[in-house]
């Protein structure tokens, strides 16, 4: 069987940005300690007419254009998000009609905090390998929520990535596994506008346990050491956690720097680790080996080993993720409140 993996990818980041200083000023906090403590300098903010569906469509359209495939060959669409526009009615159907993939396709919305996007990648890999579909579209996208004044407000941002999974890929999936447990580190109850979290509990028993265990096991099972990888990328709830877990696993900072997008764009939740992974794909060369480990609160981690193939050399990779991140338009806190609909209207 020919290899299966990522045939194409596309990303979308809303244009607005708000800096940590602007949020800290409103809540009487010290911006420098926030920036050094969280490792987030600014975050992306969606426009009034943008949501997870629009972000998913834009990222998917870029992926399809780069893949140069007929969208009707896409046999499955999975949208991973914790901010689907509807509680009941799928985002995946909106994406399907917008990209014109016909009506004979599998579709479902996934929800597993910040790792729902990578769960969709795994499903598509399995469906392509089994011969059920020729191509699958897996999307991780969010316009994440945060209560005003909550520490999450400095990082909860918006963005998304879409992957087309199929044969003859630019990045072959060498291995994947998941580590999952019932860990209540972060949640949002039905009908609640904002999530709640366990503060420091989100660290050791949640993020670090799951990301480390999944990362360590996939390397051990496949006979690799950290130095065998050209790049590694981990879920990025802030700028500190991925750096620390990389160090725990034995990676050097040069291996994670390219994919560490959170400092400039914030935590795009279901789009987080996959946006960093896309920034790596933007510069990867044939023969490069990449470790990707996502994390979703609740909690679980999906780990992947990707091998870049020769096909990446003729693959269209402009505009790059970092270019999209760097060309944002800054807004102040009052405009941010309006854009995020935090102002109660009559």
């Amino acid at each position: 069987m020919s290899s299966v993996g990522i045939v194409s990818y596309g990303t979308y980041i809303p244009k607005f940005r708000i800096k940590a200083e602007e949020i800290a000023k409103v809540w009487g906090e010290d911006a420098d300690s926030i920036k050094s403590g969280l490792g987030v300098l600014q975050k992306s903010v969606p426009d009034l007419d943008e949501d997870t569906a629009t972000i998913s469509v834009e990222a998917s359209r870029e992926a399809i254009k780069r893949a140069k495939i007929d969208p009707k060959k896409i046999g499955a669409i999975f949208v991973g998000s914790e901010s689907h526009p509807y509680a009941v009615k799928p985002t995946a159907t909106i994406v399907g009609d917008a990209i014109g993939c016909g009506n004979f396709f599998h579709a479902a919305d996934y929800e597993f905090a910040c790792k729902a996007g990578t769960a969709g990648i795994q499903t598509c890999i399995a469906m392509v390998k089994s011969g059920m579909i020729e191509y699958g579209l897996a999307i991780g996208a969010d316009t994440s929520q945060s209560a005003p004044g909550d520490p999450l407000e400095y990082s909860a941002s918006a963005g998304g990535t879409a992957f087309i999974i199929g044969k003859s890929p630019i990045a072959e999936v060498e291995a994947t596994l998941s580590f999952t447990s019932d860990t209540p580190d972060f949640w949002r109850r039905e009908g609640q506008p904002y999530p709640s979290h366990g503060g420091r509990f989100t660290g050791t028993p949640a993020y670090f346990r799951h990301v480390y265990t999944a990362g360590e096991k996939i390397m051990r099972e496949n006979g690799y050491k950290p130095e065998d990888f050209d790049y590694a990328v981990f879920h990025q709830p802030n700028g500190k956690f991925p750096v620390r877990v990389a160090r725990m696993l034995g990676f050097r900072s040069e291996q994670i720097e390219q994919g560490l997008v959170v400092r400039k764009v914030g935590n795009t939740y279901s789009g987080s680790s996959v946006l960093g992974f896309s920034a790596i794909l933007d510069v990867a060369k044939p023969g490069d080996k990449i470790l990707l480990v996502s994390f979703g609160s609740g909690a679980g981690s999906d780990a992947f080993i990707f091998d870049i193939t020769d096909r990446i050399e003729e693959f269209e990779r402009e505009p790059k993720v970092w270019d999209k991140i760097n060309r944002g338009v800054e807004v102040d806190y009052s405009v941010y409140l309006k854009l995020r609909r935090k102002i109660k209207m009559k």
Partner: protein, 129 residues
Amino acid sequence: MLPRFWRKIKYRYDIVGTVCETCGSKYYPPRNFCPICRRKSKMKEVNFGDKGEVVSYTVVHDTPEEYRMMKPYIVALIKLDGGPTITSQVVCDESEIHIGMRVKKAFRKYFEDGEDGIIYYGTKFVPES
């Protein structure tokens, strides 16, 4: 409202119009009958592509209720590279818009039918670069 919008999803989610294969006239919104060729009209659906140029525009300050939050917003006549001239919202700052500006399509929300109603999506335009 709901069934009417649903019937037009194909034409709103993307710039799908019609061309008369008899005379070559292009129409958006799509027509199922060519007013030039009349009974000889032979209509075919086509996608008019992603990009175009602003021919003229207006900045709307007195908005309908659904667009109150977007005030002021821009509506422009856009000559598509693929043929017809269409009317669409251009999402950008008032200071950016100008005649001759290159624009590309973007999938955006049109409006929401209240807090518990349907969300209507469709094509708008944004600056090309």
